[in-house]
Symmetry: C2
Subunit: 282 residues, 2 copies
Amino acid sequence: MEETRTRSGAGRAALRAAAAEAVPPSALEIVRTRSLSSLVAQELERMILAGTLAAGERLNEQSLATRLGVSRGPVREAVRGLERSGLVVAVRNQGSYVRQVSAEEALEIYDLRAAITGLACARLAEAATPAQLGALRALVKRMDEARRAEDAPAYYATNLDFHAALLAHGAGPRTRRLYEELGNELHLFRRRALVEAENMRESNAEHAAMLRAIAAGDAEAARKAGETHIAGGKRRFRATDITTPQPAASKGENGHDAGDPSSPPRPVAGRRGAGRGPRGAA
Amino acid sequence: MEETRTRSGAGRAALRAAAAEAVPPSALEIVRTRSLSSLVAQELERMILAGTLAAGERLNEQSLATRLGVSRGPVREAVRGLERSGLVVAVRNQGSYVRQVSAEEALEIYDLRAAITGLACARLAEAATPAQLGALRALVKRMDEARRAEDAPAYYATNLDFHAALLAHGAGPRTRRLYEELGNELHLFRRRALVEAENMRESNAEHAAMLRAIAAGDAEAARKAGETHIAGGKRRFRATDITTPQPAASKGENGHDAGDPSSPPRPVAGRRGAGRGPRGAA
DNA sequence: CGACTGTCATCTGTCAACAGTTTGCGGCCG
DNA sequence: CGGCCGCAAACTGTTGACAGATGACAGTCG
């Protein structure tokens, strides 16, 4: 394809249309507010979380730019942002790769989410309104119905709503953003399906326990119930993932210090250039 | 020079040899490893945290580029990264500003750090080695000496070491990074001096309590002690900052939902362009 | 004397081009 | 026949240049 750098206007229009689809309120208005870089970043993040860009995959700037109908500049800026967010890792003169989250990191993220959920539950136990409690109860009830009907997708969706409501009422905006970012990182685990796997009965029983403690105004119990719930998810996650190194015995030296925080630049699958291969082939 | 792309093989070997030899210090070698964008980002972050770029200050891309001796491209990429990190906020066609952290956000960050510290303490209570315990004890002892000598700077530095050691032994790399980022954000509070203000006696007593619980292997008590310590810092912070809205009475509706997560683009002080004024005037 | 509008300089957003490096493939020598 | 060298291509890193927008000053009208 030779349209690499010819008509950028058409491509941009395409991007605008794609971006406008998901947002009913205004059309070209968002373009006046958001810069191309941010739109590209949003789109890349969506692609990564949706799996269109798989974990470990290499990001070709030129290809992405052409695909989105923009120049390489905005793409580079967006990738830099995503790098800071921890969604991609970059190696100089080599390229950027969608980050791969190891099992250890996934478990660590579970711990963080547990702490945050516990924090929100404790806050909620101290200052929850009857309306908020009612909303949470309704969500638990909906999950129970989904569980009875064995409707896993519905349960999963409502579960997300429940946790979102928990954070919305019991935590500030910064905490919510952090929780969301951690959730996104969890999606980069090599087998993301594990993240969504849940034992509905066990899980919802824990939800109910959290709610009871919150309603009782027992901050300490609520915090613990929240932490336990996420720890349960972590346990179910670990039980499913056979390759996870169970820390079982070695309690002495918890060698957290080893290794890089982000996964190394291992090229993984996928070749880079086609060498001197025929470039005109269509 | 016409040798642009002639002997890449020999040049490569030579460069590799040079790279292998000149490992210890840092020369122009870092430039070969890190990209300009990352270096600029690092420098900007340093400037922001050091106060060279004050909170609310506007970032002029051209000025920064000239000052750092690079083009605007790397600067823009770096700023995008810092924007994702939450250190700056950007408004389209208007510029980027060093983020201003409100009192509410600062308090929220304190809560998050408390949860993280509690997590690390609990982990440590379950799996701390005698060597780690000894190191922590030594730090507490050093702080006590600094307190007796009323050497606030020394106390502050050792306090940082103590918390760093806590995280290094009791948490994973992701947790440590998060803790550091939250600390950086705290530095963006309008009166950053408050963050560093500590009641040395009270603070170190809490350190000792944390250590006791960890040594006793009581994870729950250790977690609580860690949380209490940061909560104490939060309390001291709030007591000093008179403008903080004490949530005292209104327990009913905790309206966390209001407002943007990041401070608005308020232009704050500092004019932008000089208009059509005489530019040559000295 | 106050409010409004026109004009302009500065800055950001974006694009296109240049330079350097890494990498794969083909050929050559041992 | 295997390993090494050299070439070539693609890709990233960086720079410079161009358009659009923003904000402010200055003149003018009510």
